[in-house]
């Protein structure tokens, strides 16, 4: 091949990339575990920026949406282009099975390294911690995880089940790995009449509705509802909170990689992070100020875990939890 042809080809491909970046269009399907209204706002903000892209989203709890996705992937006809779910452990599992597509050029230079996937298969979009919610009519104001084991909390604790919620799975693993009581803590909770079922939404409803007085829940739900007037409050327990990063990933079978990458870029951009903060989430980008009602990142202590180990023990954790709380 002569050099002129090489130059021509190089020029043509350069042109192709440039025009592709220019004309981002088509359809995108997002599978997400975000609450409906947040998913809607995020999608709307993205579509306002890229009016030629039409995004449809499908929402369900992390476990359920991933089960649906895996079933479709195995059948070879999933419409999903993007996945935005609670936790990176589930993402690791999907990446391991070859269902995700790396986006190596993603600009993550401003993000903390320890939150990142070195293979660039998934990207953290927020920081969501699990702490304690309580009804403001409750007699006790809990400050420690151990307070949920006391007499005042007997039959009054609601918590999400790791069989449904990705955040709850990480949370369970974090508690078991970092509190010196291990699984014993959950056994005592069960003995104290704690109820574990469904997702975080159910916990919020039970506590806000006064059916239970205390609960374990992701922080943004009670903080947001409190601002709307609901009789709930949230505490970061003294031992620390578990955290997930609500990662986003591009699926290997995406039909519209450019648009999917643009969606990831948007979530990682300062604009996307400010939107997250406005929605009432702790942004993953440290430069963006957290929303009202949140302590600064430095004030929160975390129950830190090893994600690889968490993935390894995920199934065993679910089984153990189901056994303790008598679920199938």
């Amino acid at each position: 091949m002569n050099s002129l042809a090489k130059i021509l080809i190089a020029g043509a491909s350069l042109l192709a990339t440039a025009s592709a970046a220019f004309a981002i269009e088509g359809k995108l399907t997002l599978y997400t575990s975000q609450p409906n209204d947040d998913a809607q706002q995020t999608v709307d903000a993205f579509m306002a920026k890229y009016p030629d892209v039409e995004v449809t989203f499908v929402r369900d709890g992390t476990t359920k949406i991933v089960a649906k996705l895996r079933a479709e992937l195995e059948a070879g006809n999933s419409p999903a282009d993007l996945l935005l779910i609670a936790d990176s452990v589930t993402m690791e599992g999907l990446a391991k099975d070859g269902y995700l597509k790396a986006y190596e050029e993603a600009d993550v230079s401003d993000y903390a390294d320890e939150m990142q996937d070195p293979e660039r298969m998934w990207f953290p979009t927020k920081l969501i911690t699990t702490g304690i919610i309580y009804n403001t009519n409750a007699p006790m104001k809990p400050t420690s995880w151990k307070d949920l084991l006391g007499e005042e909390a007997r039959n009054q604790v609601a918590m999400p089940s790791p069989l449904t919620s990705g955040a709850a799975l990480i949370h369970t693993h974090s508690i078991v790995e970092t509190l010196d009581t291990g699984w014993d803590y959950y056994e005592q909770l069960a003995a104290n009449g704690a109820q574990a079922s469904g997702g975080n939404g159910g916990v919020l409803k039970a506590v806000a509705g006064g059916e239970k007085l205390y609960g374990m829940v992701v922080e943004f739900l009670p903080i947001r509802e409190k601002a709307k007037g609901a009789p709930v409050d949230f505490v970061f327990p003294e031992e620390g909170v578990s955290a997930i990063s609500e990662p986003v990933a591009i699926l290997d079978g995406t039909q519209n990689e450019e648009a999917a990458q643009a969606f990831v870029d948007f979530l990682l951009s300062e604009e996307g992070q400010e939107l997250a903060a406005k929605q009432g989430y702790m942004p993953a980008l440290a430069d963006v100020a957290p929303p009202e009602g949140f302590p600064s990142l430095a004030e929160i202590s975390f129950l830190t875990i090893d994600p690889a180990k968490a993935l390894e023990s995920a199934e065993a954790d679910k089984e153990k939890f189901a056994e303790i709380f008598g679920q199938n």
Binding site: E72, G209, E211, N328
Partner: protein, 586 residues
């Protein structure tokens, strides 16, 4: 050979006139049989094969599954809940049916309408309504100062609540079946007893109920089957506290483990089909043995004249309906009018934002409305056409196999929705042979399941109308050389159109509210109203869920009111709430 008759010109005209009745419309007959086979037979065979496959591959594994603690527990719960709710539904349903049939009261029609409305409201909406009514944050109980203390579990969660809500929800079903039986009690029997000096109580307990006993039994079995198959009520009131029934267990397993569990789900749904099927067959057997009233006799009409008794019953019914129907819906409305779940409703907190903005801003909700309208609307239109053909052909050409074809048509409707949904997944999960594509994961699979499930509903009134048609008009048309198509469109359709419309609208109403089928079959972009409600509940958006339930209830009530306004155009008893209140003719 039947089709040779046309080639035998020597046969008498009389003979011809008899034979056209049974011989023509071959194309339509093939179409109808094909449709029934594809919609009603193939999915069930597929389910049988899948369950059979599990049994063949490993009897021990299948036995392990069916005897596993979770399946045993769910089976026990299902039976307990179905039985408990049946008892409650029978007590209330029979009482309402007897009162409305035997007494003429001023507000009889309103009572009947309200009662049937509570059946037409989606079960998950009923469950949500009772849940918001009874808990510590109940807007109505709080206003009255009667709300349970904070920290008290919602009494509607768990067995008691499920049985109560389900029993109340199925009571109208019992009342409708019993009313059909009461209308067949010969009027002369009652009159004779009254002449002999029997009191109203004696007439009801010693004459009417014993004569209608087969209908009572059949109503109980119907309520039991509905209880075994119900998904919406135990999903909202049982799952949050870990009480699973067979349908909610199948749902949870499929939802959490994806298609991997489909074979187990098939086996469990065969178990559901077995329980429900036994009751359905028992009911069919009972109804086949019923005593048929002779033509000359008129059916039961209101006969209790005692003004005091009528007033007491009227007030009692209004009080019961207020607690069982009006208060829960009012509480749902109140919950939808506060900014956040758990906030007490007063003039400061009152907001319409869920209705004006929040709900409409969500593409999911808009899509769910559009989807529910499209799926149930197209199902209703297709079913209306199919019902016309089916009724005509079964009445004419296939009258001999009527006894075989009708149970097949009714089977998918009688079976719980979860069984039909799983049969559809099994049928379409792999690409179809020959054509090579699949409707799995699209809206078509939901439409298919609706067509299979609700054909029986659409065909019922049309069947009744067609079989009462006089042959003479058609015979005259034949002599004039009118083809089958001509006669169907120009003679039959105009006469039976009201029945076709009534059947289609009933199918629409039921499909519009449906949850069980779509909960298992939805995928990206094909969420229905039921799925959206469940999803909002699950995400903790309690006030939004309440608002959606209010809107859906208004749609149903509006449609029913429209049907009522147009009732003149429909045949007698095409509207279920009219069946409850027979008119006095003399």
């Amino acid at each position: 050979m039947a089709f040779l008759t046309d080639t035998l010109p020597l046969r008498s005209r009389r003979r011809r006139a008899e034979s056209w009745y049974e011989m023509e419309g071959g194309t339509i007959a093939i179409f109808v049989i094909g449709a029934v086979a594809i919609l009603c037979v193939v999915p069930m065979l597929q389910l049988l094969f899948a369950a059979g496959g599990v049994l063949r591959d490993g009897l021990p594994r299948a036995a392990d599954l069916l005897a596993s603690a979770s399946v045993l527990r769910a089976t026990g719960n299902s039976l307990l809940i179905a039985a408990g709710s049946t008892v409650l539904a029978m007590v209330l349903g029979v009482a309402v049916a007897v009162i409305l049939t035997c007494m003429e009261m001023r507000t009889r029609r309103y009572l009947g309408f309200l009662f049937v409305l509570s059946l037409m409201v989606a079960p998950q909406v009923s469950a949500l309504a009772f849940k918001t009514l009874a808990g510590p944050s109940s807007p109505i109980l709080n206003t009255l100062g009667l709300a349970p203390a904070p920290g008290t579990p919602n009494p509607m969660l768990g067995f008691g609540g499920i049985i109560l809500v389900m029993g109340l929800h199925h009571a109208p079903l019992v009342a409708l079946t019993v009313a059909a039986g009461l209308s067949r009690v010969p009027k002369s029997l009652v009159e004779a007893a009254l002449l002999d000096g029997a009191g109203a109580w004696t007439v009801v307990t010693r004459i009417i109920l014993p004569v209608a006993r087969l209908y009572l039994l059949s109503a109980a079995l119907l309520a039991f089957v509905a209880g075994v198959g119900n998904f919406g009520i135990p999903a909202l009131l049982g799952l949050p506290v870990g009480v699973t029934t067979l349908p909610t267990m199948v749902y949870r397993q499929l939802a959490s483990f994806g298609r991997g569990g489909i074979e187990n789900a098939a086996l469990v749904s065969m178990l559901i089909a077995l329980i429900a099927g036994a009751a359905v067959i028992a009911s069919a057997w009972i109804m086949a043995r019923r005593d048929v009233r002779t033509d000359g006799e008129r059916g039961l009409e209101p006969f209790i004249e005692d003004l005091n008794a009528r007033r007491i019953c009227e007030v009692a019914l209004w009080v019961i309906f207020t607690f069982a129907i009006i208060l829960p819906i009012a509480s749902l409305l109140a919950t939808s009018l506060v900014p956040a779940y758990g906030v007490t409703l007063n003039f400061e907190t009152l907001t319409f934002s869920q209705f004006t903005g929040t709900l409409w801003d969500q593409a999911l909700v808009r899509r769910a409305f559009a989807n529910s309208l499209i799926f149930s609307g197209s199902a209703a239109v297709i079913l209306s056409v199919l019902a016309l053909f089916l009724a005509y052909i079964v009445d004419r050409r296939l009258s001999r196999i009527r006894l075989a074809i009708m149970p097949i048509v009714e089977m998918p409707y009688a079976l719980p929705g979860v069984v039909v949904a799983i049969a559809c997944i099994l049928l379409f999960v792999n690409p179809l042979p020959v054509v090579g594509f699949t409707i799995y994961g699209t809206g078509w699979i939901i439409l298919f399941a609706y067509l299979a499930s609700f054909l029986a509903i659409a065909v019922k009134p049309v069947m009744a109308a067609v079989s009462s048609l006089e042959r003479s008009v058609e015979e005259a048309a034949i002599l004039d050389g009118a083809s089958v198509a001509d006669r169907l469109t120009k003679i039959i359709l105009p006469i039976v159109l009201p029945s076709v419309v009534a059947g289609g609208l009933m199918a629409f109403l039921i499909a519009f509210n449906e949850l069980t089928i779509s909960a298992l079959l939805w995928s990206a972009g094909t969420e229905t109203l039921g799925v959206a409600l469940l999803n909002l509940e699950d995400a903790g958006l309690g006030t939004e869920a309440a608002a959606l339930a209010v809107v859906a209830t208004c749609v149903v009530a509006g449609l029913m009111a429209a049907l009522e306004a147009a009732h003149r155009f429909f045949p007698d008893n095409a509207l279920p709430w009219h069946q409850l209140c027979p008119r006095k003719t003399s």
